[in-house]
């Protein structure tokens, strides 16, 4: 501790009051972009290099927070004296240059003091748009078609169109998507809901996206000259439906269309989605359509808060089926919802409407691994009614609290 104070004095920085003997990340100065921060980590099994790496990562994390952070939090407070909170704090500033000023070990703790010398020069909007707070899991099912005879030149469009959308969604961040074979039934909404929930449960997805190719036929323009010369156009019309996997409910259903002046077939030999396909006139039009549809799907899904499922319960620890790959971080807080009764709510006709649920506890993440995370409850899970199948959610979406969402 003394060495830290000597160090601060030596460099003419104002002395911060530190009342803890255990090392802790401290922002010591913020003058014209320069930040000095101390990071700490525990030395496990005498492994100094690992401890140094962790302490450095801790220092960089805290330095980024000092340079700019986005805080989102929501507290539910009820008359029953229950305060539940969900919260996430994300660094916004990217550090492009730093140097290690000092490092030492005291007892079981390794300390690293760094100085941030350079940061990425970006506007606030650029910084904020780069943040993908969490990645939601989405399952895309095979698309259906009203008239399959209209697609002799693009036989694999049913599977390749959704795959192309999911690839673009993943590339732009914020989504973890997977493709599922099989189509949703079109005749009954109730059976559609059932299958959506089954797919979501099987794939661990929060959302299920389906599609229907409404039209791909050739049309002749109305008019005397057009009818004589037979100027054909081809219309692509696709409806994309986004479902909530937890309840099976339809979130949004949007249709997109593209008109192609020259309706020459793309050619059976050209694989849908390949470079050769997209270089054709049909491919070019579909490329733009896919781009617009991708942005729309993203806009709808980003308005719904992130949710993960509880897959295991041990005392007051719960295991969630989302982890570091989903961008969850240690320290994140989510609210756990449990079903009140074991029986689902059904319509008079017997169709399932979902489970009645209630918020039961706040969970704070204490460990994240690539595909799962471990959270801590304030009490025993059984006492709180938390069990496998319960859901943990943020109470806000990554669009923030001030954005308008498409309906």
């Amino acid at each position: 501790m003394c060495s830290v104070i000597n160090y601060l004095c030596k460099y003419g920085l104002f002395v911060v009051f530190v009342s803890v003997t255990l090392g802790v990340a401290q922002a010591e100065s913020l003058r014209s972009g320069l930040v000095r921060v101390e990071g700490v980590a525990e030395i496990l099994q005498g492994d100094l290099s690992l401890a140094k790496q962790k302490a450095l990562s801790d220092a960089l994390h805290h330095a980024s927070l000092v340079l700019g952070m986005h805080v989102m939090a929501a507290e539910n407070i009820s008359s029953a004296d229950m305060v539940l909170r969900s919260q996430q704090v994300r660094p916004v500033q990217k550090i492009s240059g730093f140097s290690i000023l000092e490092e030492w070990a005291s007892g079981e703790i390794y300390h690293v003091v760094i100085s941030v010398d350079e940061v990425l020069d970006e506007s606030l909007q650029e910084k904020m748009s780069r943040i993908h707070s969490v990645k939601k899991k989405v399952a895309f099912v095979q698309f259906d078609a009203v008239n399959t005879a209209q697609w002799p030149d693009m036989r694999d469009i049913y599977s390749e169109l959704p795959k192309d959308i999911l690839n673009r969604l993943e590339t732009s961040g914020g989504i973890l998507a997977q493709y599922v074979n099989g189509v949703l039934p079109r005749n009954s909404e109730a059976s559609q809901r059932d299958i959506v929930m089954q797919i979501a449960k099987k794939t661990g997805s929060q959302f299920v996206v389906s599609g229907l190719i409404l039209d791909a036929g050739k049309h002749v323009d109305e008019g005397f000259i057009e009818s004589i010369i037979g100027a054909e156009k081809r219309l692509f019309k696709v409806e994309i439906v986004m479902h909530d996997g937890l309840t099976g409910a339809k979130l949004a259903s949007h249709s997109f269309e593209a008109l192609i002046d020259n309706s020459i077939d793309s050619g059976v030999s050209k694989h849908f989605g390949g470079r050769a396909f997209f270089s054709t006139e049909s491919g070019h039009a579909l490329n733009s359509l896919i781009d617009i549809a991708t942005k729309d799907v993203r806009a709808v899904l980003s308005c719904v808060p992130f949710a993960a499922q509880v897959v295991r319960v041990e005392g007051n620890n719960v295991y969630l089926d989302a982890g570091a790959v989903s961008m969850l971080k240690v320290g994140d807080q989510l609210i756990i919802y449990s079903s009140e009764f074991n029986l689902p709510v059904v319509t008079l006709g017997g169709a399932m409407l979902g489970m009645s649920e209630h918020p039961s506890s706040t969970v704070t993440l204490v460990k994240t691994q690539p595909l799962f995370s471990i959270g801590e409850l304030k009490d025993d899970a059984k006492k709180l009614g938390v069990k496998p199948g319960s859901f943990a959610r943020f109470e806000f979406s990554e669009k923030g609290l001030y954005s308008t969402c498409p309906q």
Partner: protein, 197 residues
Amino acid sequence: MNHIKTGNFSTDAKLPGRFKPVLCLVLLGGLLTGCTPPQVIVQAPQSAQMPTRSAPYGDIKLSAVGYGSSSSFEGYTAGQKRLMAMRASKLDAYRSLAEQVQGVRVNGNSTVAGAMVQIDSFRVLVDAYLRGAQVVSVTPMADGNYETTVELTLDSKFFNSAPQQYRDFVPTAIVGSNIKGAVGPGASYGTNFYYSE
């Protein structure tokens, strides 16, 4: 805001403290001059009567305290649990600071049945960007819990860059004299599928 009408003072009108000595001087001057003809008082334009707000504030230091409880996760050693508690208290302090700087949105929800409030609940929402928040102290408490204090210094640039409606409001609230509340329409909030607001 009190509007001061020259030449037509009412005893009911509450004058801001800084106008009182001026008024005394004017009255004293009037007594001393005695027989001077009455002065014609010209009604000043409304805007000229408003107190000016040119850079009335210097640096303002905001501080917030956060708490973190010791983890009971068995997979961690005692040292890791301590570090976890510190981290939790730090994040809590940042949230608390964000609430102060950006403000919160409160959604209330009451269920009334038989003229009795059955369930009364509300949600407090925070969405803020912070820069320059610094950890001032991390203090161990009983039972392995930690208390963290963070600080953020806001200078005049912060207020000057704020939209006009906030500039009018913020100083009175922070200076602490003549504190006034401000109510405005909420920004267009994102819909939360799981909650019907």
